[in-house]
């Protein structure tokens, strides 16, 4: 069981030393950062703010060593075969774009995506559809938001890529990636997984899931903003043609030729966010001290309470399956005829409760369901039952005046 009191002490914003702590229920958008992460980044800036991988002085060597260490920590964290399979990006979106633009798709190649993808895993494919004529197909899900393997099996034939979200930021439902990968591979399709929401909440073993590519962001897993990881199986990464090249991606050049570096450098063009990478490594190290089962259990306990209380309010409709066990730490709800921005702002003003309102970058789903917007509570290891109770109390007060 998680010791939230001890955990909260690691977060400056939550430990009460700097004024009243906010009730932060927006971790699906951005997690808070433990002091250890901030300190690791500060250490870089204070003590060895040099180029990694380029120069040979002591400061540079230290930076190189720390970046390498971060890569190793992350590789181990997702059980990658080697460090080289870890490519640093700015975020998941960049990882998806890197993949979509490097895989070498041609006209009429088929890409399958689910019906509730984040814009980051929708727009890059639609742009390629308009640019080179690929075919983007939507895998129809179940009514309750869960993944429909039958529907998937029916349309997989002929697909070249299956690009799918692991845990949805819309309703918290986690897709059965292992089964999806199995079916896809039987049909010679490659699988890319958007793990932005899942990486911080469940153990991801890329070898066990047998995914071909996977991307996630640092900022949702206690890490710094502007950091992310794109993972790929070594043999597949070597085949990809990087779409962003330049400094640090080549071994040497002449006026009319170049020789690319091996992976991962060939995908990491230009000077990297070293402080961010080091911070991300520290965040992963911090996260690794916990058992993901404990995190899931903690989130489920809070989610169960919130969901059950929301169900008592007749006006409220919950997005996704009724069973909170399927929804990770996310509860997304709306009130017919009410702009949920108003609710979110009222909670913030009344009790310093931070939740996300809007369409959560899944506009396509909202358009399809004719729902204007929703309010999303997303929980994490630092949230407490007291916070959940305050949230419910204030929400009940708000609903009374609507």
């Amino acid at each position: 069981m998680l010791n939230t009191k001890k955990i909260r002490a690691d977060f400056n914003i939550l430990n009460g030393k700097n004024g009243p702590a906010p009730i932060y229920f927006d971790s699906a958008c951005m997690s808070l950062k433990p002091n250890q992460v901030v300190e690791a980044m500060n250490e870089y800036y204070f003590n060895y703010p040099a180029c990694a991988l380029r120069s040979f002085h002591k400061l540079s060597n230290k930076a190189t060593e720390k970046v390498k260490e971060a890569r190793q920590i992350i590789a181990k964290f997702i059980n990658a075969n080697s460090d080289d399979e870890i490519i640093f990006t700015r975020n998941t979106t960049e990882g998806i774009n890197l993949f979509a633009n490097s895989i070498g798709l041609k006209k009429d190649d088929i890409v399958l995506i689910s019906d509730k993808e984040h814009n980051s895993n929708l727009v890059p494919w639609l742009v390629l559809r308009d640019k080179i004529g690929i075919v983007v197909k939507i895998i129809p899900g179940n009514e309750n938001g869960s993944f429909n393997l039958d529907n998937f099996s029916k349309i997989i034939a002929g697909a070249k890529i299956v690009s799918i979200v692991h845990t949805s930021n819309l309703d918290g439902v986690t897709n059965p990636i292992k089964e999806i990968t199995e079916i896809a591979h039987k049909n010679n399709a490659l699988v890319f997984v958007d793990a932005a929401q899942s990486i911080a909440h469940r153990k991801i073993d890329v070898q066990d899931l047998n995914v071909d590519f996977l991307a996630f962001s640092g900022h949702k897993m206690l890490g710094p903003t502007g950091t992310g990881v794109f993972y790929g199986k070594r043999e597949l990464l070597e085949k990809l043609q990087p779409f962003m090249v330049g400094g640090d991606t080549v071994e040497f050049t002449t006026y009319d030729s170049y020789k690319m570096l091996p992976i991962p450098e060939k995908f990491e063009a230009g000077l990297q966010n070293y402080a961010g990478i080091i911070g991300l490594g520290r965040a992963v190290k911090y996260l690794s001290q916990f058992d993901f089962k404990d995190i899931a259990e903690h989130e489920l306990r809070l989610n169960t309470y919130i969901t059950e209380e929301l169900k008592k309010i007749p006006q409220i409709k919950i997005i996704g399956p009724e069973d909170q066990k399927l929804k990770s730490g996310i509860v997304n709800f709306y009130i017919e005829g009410t702009d949920m921005h108003k609710i979110a702002i009222m909670l913030d003003e009344m009790a310093n409760i931070a939740i996300r309102s809007g369409r959560h970058c899944v506009h396509s789903w909202f358009e399809n369901k004719k729902i204007y917007n929703s309010a999303r509570v997303s929980l994490y290891l630092y949230n407490t039952m007291e916070e959940a109770e305050i949230f419910i109390k204030n929400l009940n007060q708000i609903v009374k005046i609507l």
């Binding site: 702009d339 921005h341 108003k342 609710i343 979110a344 702002i345 009222m346 909670l347 913030d348 003003e349 009344m350 917007n373 007060q397 708000i398 009374k400 005046i401 609507l402």
Partner: protein, 312 residues
């Protein structure tokens, strides 16, 4: 409607604060979409509403409920109040520019007097209507039916006509006089001067001025200007009059005789009676092309009156 209110409010606040400027921009986007018959897509109005409701809800659920239900109505009320107060502010700014007071004409100091003596009435307690005092405004002060032919006038051919009724002992008259001289000079206007003994005993100076104008018309305006510019206590001391007259090389004896003659006293009394016909209630009272200004105003006010910038 809330967007429009927010646009105006945040627009004004945005002049001073970048944070408010962003809100003004969002409000503008919302208003622009509405006037182009598209729905507002930023939820701006709802965000503002949410902030307001939260503050009220913390105090009273009932009030928050009422506000939520009649939000649009309240928005309209505040919009109308805002438009009204904006007009009032603009009017105040205009008044300040042209009259020297945000409240309009007749709101600055002047030397009050009560020729009718009605202020001395005794009224019954609680009978506010029986006081007998009718508040006076500049609108009731007029030159109609007033014969100014006996008063000293310079530059009679001037296009614009300025009449200055002032008192040598009145600080407000003394303040306004140089501006009027400047105005007359700059605008090549006709100036008529009338001394009205509003404060203290200045009749003797008026009578002396009457005689100087009659006997030394070329030096009258220098003499008059001296009386407004010299030390007030000095000129109000009757024993200094002869010294003043002699400093202008007037024949003191003749001027004194003239000033003390029954004809002069009668003429001066008649002039004061003539001035009373204007309905004036304080000095200085200045007429610029017939429009009355009571009390000293900034120079720009007089200039605006000649330039006809005054609309109401």
């Amino acid at each position: 409607m809330p967007c429009l209110v927010a646009l105006i409010v945040f627009g004004i606040m945005g002049i001073f604060s970048a944070t408010q400027r962003a809100l003004a921009k969002e409000a503008f986007g919302c208003v622009f979409r509405r006037i182009t018959f598209r729905p507002c897509n930023t939820s701006f109005a709802e965000k503002v509403k949410g902030k307001l409701l939260a503050k009220v809800l913390k105090r009273s659920t009932f009030l928050a409920k009422v506000l939520n239900k009649y939000y649009e109505v309240f928005s309209w009320i505040f919009f109308i109040l805002m438009v009204g107060s904006t007009i009032w502010v603009i009017r105040g700014g205009f008044n300040f520019y042209v009259y020297g007071s945000c409240n309009g004409l007749n709101q600055s100091g002047f030397c009050a007097f009560d020729p009718s003596g009605s202020n001395n009435k005794v009224t019954a307690v609680g009978d506010s209507t029986a006081c007998g005092i009718t508040p006076k405004t500049e609108a009731t002060v007029t030159l109609k039916g007033v014969d100014l032919s006996g008063f000293p006038t310079e530059n009679v051919t001037g296009k614009d006509k300025v009449v200055f009724i002032g008192c040598y002992a009145c600080d407000y008259s003394r303040k306004a006089y140089p501006d009027i001289l400047k105005l007359v000079k700059n605008k090549n206007a006709t100036l008529t001067f009338a001394h009205y003994p509003a404060k203290g005993d200045t009749t003797f100076l008026g009578e002396a001025g009457y005689c100087v104008n009659k006997m030394y018309p070329d030096k009258y305006w220098d003499f008059n200007t001296y009386l407004f510019e010299a030390d007030k206590n000095y000129i109000l001391d009757k024993t200094n009059l002869d010294s003043i007259l002699s400093s202008f090389n007037f024949d003191v004896k003749i001027v004194d005789e003239c000033a003390n003659s029954p004809e002069t006293k009668n003429a001066f009394d008649n002039q004061v009676k003539e001035l009373d016909k204007t309905g004036l209630y304080g000095t200085p009272t200045i007429f610029i092309n017939g429009k009355a200004f009571v009390g000293p105003k900034p120079y720009r006010v007089y200039r605006s009156a000649i330039n006809k910038y005054i609309f109401f």
